[in-house]
């Protein structure tokens, strides 16, 4: 892989990738393009990729503005470091692409928006059985030591999306995005089939819901009881939702090819809200409620009480993109 100091092939595209509040799975998902990785290296030089190559932030800061042609950004924004890097990479990149659900909709990290910062710190540094912290120390943005001031990034009040901070050109949804779709998107963006700049256009996915790709059959039956995936072996070839297993398919963007459902598990909603839906969670409320086998209010409430953790399930990947965005 090229180094910025001895890169000879100047006509090659320059590609960067950065991780913010994410698990690192997106960096691995980029490798899922498989043998196409060699094709990618043929046409592009990596100029920044903390997960795989040793570039420092200073290298990026020294690049001229717009030096990076395509920059993939995965992860949500939780700390000041991530925000500074988002702004830096926006300045240095011609095309900034949100890669994966965390950067687009907040993803799993944004479920932390349901808790306060105090609650998170309490669980992380005080009241967990495995924590040994007799002095009750918490990380401080600035610590005074003999040698001077030590600084660490500030922890924000809530998780933000990349597009809450900077303008984004394209978005590749998924947790993680599917390799084949990613390669198609890379070819489209790097090959000049689409302009480098755009306004947060979703690529490598479709507008319709996962149900559109789902091979299971709907029998138009109502939900009589909710079950969790580990409690039951679902009947084959029958819509999981109708069997009482909460499946996020109806509210979720397609593009994955209904992978989880083909593997016998319900959709978890990782491609975010579908094209016609703004708020994945309330869309799911609407869907599930209209499928209940209930003719009285009491029966409806009884069925609803069987759904475990509705907020965490319906907004599993899109809390920061929902209407409310956070809990109070």
């Amino acid at each position: 892989m090229g180094d910025n100091e001895n890169s000879q092939a100047t006509e090659k595209l320059k590609v960067g990738m950065y991780w913010a509040a994410s698990c690192g799975g997106c960096d691995i998902a980029l490798l899922e393009i498989g043998p196409h990785l060699l094709d990618l290296i043929q046409i592009a030089d990596v100029v920044f990729w903390p997960c795989a190559a040793d570039f420092k932030y200073q290298h990026v800061a020294d690049y001229p503005d717009g030096y990076i042609d395509v920059c993939f950004f995965n992860g949500a924004i939780r700390t000041s470091e991530q925000e500074e890097l988002a702004r830096l990479l926006r300045k240095k990149s011609k095309s900034l692409i949100s890669f994966g659900e965390c950067a687009i909709d907040g993803g799993i990290p944004s479920l932390a928006n349901l808790k306060t910062v105090e609650g998170i710190f309490d669980a992380s540094y005080h009241n967990t059985p495995s924590i040994d912290n007799p002095d009750g120390v918490e990380p401080q943005p600035i610590t005074l030591v003999e040698q001077g001031e030590l600084e660490i990034p500030v922890f924000y009040q809530q998780v933000l999306r990349l597009k809450d901070i900077v303008q984004v050109d394209y978005e590749i949804p998924g947790c993680p995005p599917q390799g084949d779709r990613v390669w198609e998107a890379i070819v489209a963006v790097t090959g000049g089939a689409v302009p480098l700049t755009n306004s947060a256009v979703k690529v490598a996915c479709f507008d319709k819901s996962v149900c559109d790709e789902c091979p299971l059959e709907k029998k138009l039956e109502k939900i009589k009881e909710f079950k969790r995936p580990h409690e039951v072996r679902p009947e084959p070839d029958w819509c999981l939702l109708e069997q009482g297993i909460v499946c996020m398919g109806p509210a979720t963007r397609s593009g994955c090819g209904a992978l989880c459902i083909k593997g016998g598990l319900p959709c978890r909603g990782c491609y975010g809200p579908s094209g016609t839906v703004e708020d994945q969670g309330t869309a799911m409320v609407s869907t599930i409620a209209s499928l209940l086998d209930a003719t009285t209010e009491d029966r409806a409430k009884e069925l609803i009480d069987q759904i475990v953790d509705p907020v965490g399930t319906f907004y599993r990947f899109s809390m920061a993109s929902s209407h409310m965005k956070t809990a109070r």
Partner: protein, 167 residues
């Protein structure tokens, strides 16, 4: 580079603050009921802005979160009684959606009093007047919700406006 964490400011209730409540009413029963309350010149709180829909089954939960997220202090949803729906079972969907949505709103920290769901028939103008008065009083006690300001304070939309790294 240092940056203070934006702390949530103490909520100050403005002097002439009036609760802003969005009322989603179905056309056939509840809106006619509200109309009846007006025709009969009943007195009720003026805080509900009514949005008329053809059926309470049309009230997508998305509409309710949109109202809260855009600055409503409370939301009232009213439709025909179960069994009276003009479209046979439109309100059966409302019947199941509202309790499920309430669970979600509870977890998001919106007090249950801010969200009211009632069945009001075309003949129940008095009930409409009473519900509206009750809901605006309970929201008045709770004070403003002001969700947009809270999101703004927390940096949604612009982050903390930090400069790029290295500058």
């Amino acid at each position: 580079m240092t940056q203070e964490v934006a702390t949530q400011t103490e909520q100050v209730v403005p002097d002439h603050w009036e609760p802003k409540i969005i009322g989603f009413l179905c056309y056939w029963c509840s809106y006619t009921g509200a109309d009846g309350a007006g025709t009969a010149r009943m007195k009720y709180a003026p805080n509900v802005d009514i949005i008329k829909l053809m059926c309470s089954g049309r009230i997508d939960p998305e509409l309710i979160t949109t109202a809260f997220a855009n600055g409503a202090d409370g939301v009232l949803v009213a439709g025909c009684h179960i069994g009276d729906c003009h479209y046979m079972e439109g309100n059966h969907k409302t019947m199941a959606r509202m309790p499920l949505l309430r669970k979600i709103l509870d977890e998001l920290g919106i007090e249950p009093e801010r969200f009211r769901h009632e069945w009001i028939s075309a003949a129940e103008g008095a009930k409409f007047a009473q519900v509206v008065t009750e809901v605006s009083e309970s929201v008045r006690k709770l004070g403003p919700l002001n969700w947009p300001q809270m999101l703004k304070d927390r940096g949604v939309g612009h982050g903390m406006d930090l400069k790029p790294w290295g500058e």
